[in-house]
Amino acid sequence: MPRLSPSLLRHARSLNPLLPALLRPCRTLSSAQNELRWLDEHAERIAQKYANGAEVLKCRFETKAWKCKVLRELVRKRGLGTPLQYLLGSEYFGDLEVFVRRGVLVPRCETAASTTHLARLLRRAENLPEELKLLDLCTGSGCIPLLFQHEMRRRQDVDVSCLGVDVEERALRLARYNLCKVGRGNVAGVDGDAVRFVRADVLRDIDAPDSLTRVLEKEGLGGKWDVLTANPPYVSLKAYWSSTALSVRHFEPRRALQAHNRPEMDGGDTFYPRILRTARLVDAQIVLLEVADLQQGLRVAGLARDSEFEVVIWRDVPDQDGEEVVGGIRVIGKGHGRSVVCWRGAGGRWLGVE
């Protein structure tokens, strides 16, 4: 990464002594200024909370001094690379605010863009089944099913139910917490009963006790799932060391980025054959898979075609103009190749491609 110019650092310091530390992770002044403002608001909230507590205990409390201390500490941590979202405790995912915790991957805006786009296509679709079922593998914070539910809430003629699957208990706990925060009182239109999270290992052989098929059977969740989504670990070993940001490598769980058992062998594609096999098993009509880039997207598209799916690739911003054909596959939108969208049977009509 190029060094920050001394004059930029000097200028930043003259504006606010806390800014130079933030420039290291942020790189640009305007983004550092934004982060400082958000951290400042957060410090204010924390200080207020303590102040209220102090009032109850009838002890004196200097809100302002405390706030300064909190802010300095937050800035210090951010300067060392802690993701801003872990410090603030949440991230915006589409129209939702999703809670995040150390040990679980922070949801990304590209994932939100493709999930929103998929839901908006389906929202317009005719002939949707009365009950639409979505299975999200490698669900992490649970962001994909929660946003999908939220976006589909206006389709009153369709009951959407979702299941999120992850191996990590930590992720499942967070996902359930998010469900209860988002679903409670139906604030965002997410019905608490319609979304569930269970633990299973997507990579296990079919007959292992914690394999996905076994778990689904055991939980009475077997049978058909109309839509399957997954943002599985997809970072190759080489990319892990060369392309991930420092704050990702140092602070986010490696198991969310790479197949954990043998990372040294990982070319990044480990999960896709398994997921596509599951997709056929549950008779999914639409499959949305996030990928690292166009190259991986084309490989995954090949696998999907082998499994008798039709395929397009969406870029980061799928709802913007732009279309080309690469390696025989249609690629839509702007940005990096980001998602492989597969369909069969009724799926094509739901997506509006037929």
Binding site: L15, N16, L19, C26, R27, S30, S31, A32, Q33, N34, E35, L36, R37, W38, D40, P83, L84, Q85, L88, E91, Y92, G94, D95, E97, L105, V106, R108, C109, E110, T111, N231, P233, Y234, V235, A239, S243, T244, A245, S247, V248, E252, A256, L257, E290, V291, A292, D293, D316, V317, Q320, G335, H336, R338
Partner: protein, 413 residues
């Protein structure tokens, strides 16, 4: 939803009372100018025709027009009634056959009826002033430092606080749509590079549009060591806030409407992650920039951590700017015509409208000519600010009435 222009009409009437006493004295007549009366009569005829038309089936354009005319009709009815009783009483008094007791009673009544007629004339005149089509909308106040360096930025922050105080006191919901302090945080006394305050109260645009213009400050800046008084300026822009729920949907889809923006003509730039994106990086950049290609109008919003929220704010801002620009362009011709008729003062963004003088602790508005001395109260957005703003609105109405009368006279020639 149909906007309700009469709400703001009644507020105009309310604020115009004291002014009218002045105006009437000026004209030394208790009645309305014949030209305006004729205009009101022709509106009444049209109103009648529209009512008949509506009886035969609904027509939303006619219904809207009807709504706009109804204050005139009401005012005209009041005027007719008052006028009738004045002439009846007068003839009674002048009639030699009237018995003395009755005559005395009539004389008492005449006084009351005369003042009723004066009131009715005033109401009728104001009801004829065309209502600003955006008056009922919420508004955006954009504050930007002009000439005067850092002192201007500090004064910009002062003005922002003034408007926030004003809204607070009046219970108007005010949210900062965008604000850029030069050092990234938001604290008092910190210079401001730009702020956009959204005021979400019915009629906010009608009430605050006269704040637009250049606000000038004269004081010794904190940074000035020699104690010299500096003059700096801050420009204030007031735009109607165009939100999807303030207007019926049709206004957005109708290419004829001021609010219409063709999405195809807008380039959306989302600040995408640097490098590979996706799982590789963890970006916090949620900025959204919209460019309206035909007019090269650019808005960019990055205040919220939520990209959809930034996008929504950016669209709102873009719509407001474009609608304002279109309207200004259309009005230019009208204004040029009016100016040739009477010397209507401009009220554009480039004009110096008010001076805040610290040394003398006074605020002077250059349009209404009002000077107040409680500077602190003004800067806190207190009632003294209300007083100045009211004087400007009255001044505006005065100008409008003059124009109306002059136009009428010109049309007759």
């Amino acid at each position: 939803m149909t906007p309700a222009p009469w709400i703001c009409r009644s507020c105009l009437l309310h604020i115009s009372r004291p002014l009218f006493r002045r105006l009437i004295r000026l004209q030394s007549t208790e009645s309305i100018s014949p030209g305006l009366l004729a205009r009101a009569r022709s509106i009444a005829i049209e109103h009648k025709q529209l009512t008949d038309k509506l009886a035969n089936g609904f027509d939303s354009k006619a219904a809207k027009k009807l709504g706009e005319y109804s204050p005139v009709i009401r005012a005209l009815q009041d005027w007719d009634k008052a006028n009738e009783s004045v002439s009846e009483l007068t003839s009674l008094i002048h009639d030699s056959t009237t018995d003395p007791e009755l005559r005395e009673l009539a004389a008492d009544d005449l006084e009351a009826s005369r003042s009723q007629l004066i009131n009715a004339s005033q109401s009728l005149t104001t009801s004829l002033i065309p209502v600003h089509p955006f008056a009922h909308l919420p508004c955006l106040i954009e504050i930007r430092p002009g000439a005067g360096g850092s002192e201007a930025s500090i004064f910009a922050a002062d003005l922002l606080r003034m408007y926030q105080g004003f809204c607070n006191r009046n219970n108007y919901r005010a949210t900062l749509l965008k604000f850029e302090y030069t050092n990234g945080t938001q604290e008092s006394g910190i210079p401001l590079t730009e702020a956009i305050l959204e005021i979400d109260a019915p009629n906010a645009y009608g009430m605050l549009r006269s704040e637009a213009g250049v606000h000038r400050v004269q004081r010794v800046p904190v940074t000035e060591s020699k104690g010299r008084v500096h003059t700096s300026a801050v420009s204030v822009l007031v735009l109607p806030s165009i939100q999807e729920n303030t207007l019926g949907e049709e206004n957005f889809d109708d290419p004829e409407s001021d609010y219409y923006v063709d999405p195809k003509e807008v380039r959306v730039d989302i600040m995408r992650a640097r490098g590979a994106g996706g799982q590789h990086v963890n970006t916090t950049d949620s900025a959204v920039r919209l460019t309206h290609i035909p007019t090269n109008t650019v808005v960019s919003i990055q205040d919220s951590r939520s990209q959809p929220k930034n996008r929504e704010k950016a669209w709102r801002l873009l719509r407001s700017r474009l609608a304002q620009a279109r309207r200004e362009k259309r009005e230019e011709e009208v204004v040029a015509m009016r100016r040739s008729v009477v010397g209507v003062a401009k009220m554009g963004r480039g004009d110096k409208v008010r001076t805040y003088n610290w040394g003398q602790q006074r605020v002077t508005d250059h349009r209404s000519g009002m000077t107040v001395h409680d500077l602190d109260d003004v800067m806190e957005g207190g009632e003294t600010l209300d007083k100045i703003m009211e004087s400007v609105r009255s001044w505006l109405i005065e100008k409008d009435v003059e124009t109306l009368i002059a136009e009428n006279a010109a049309a007759k020639q």
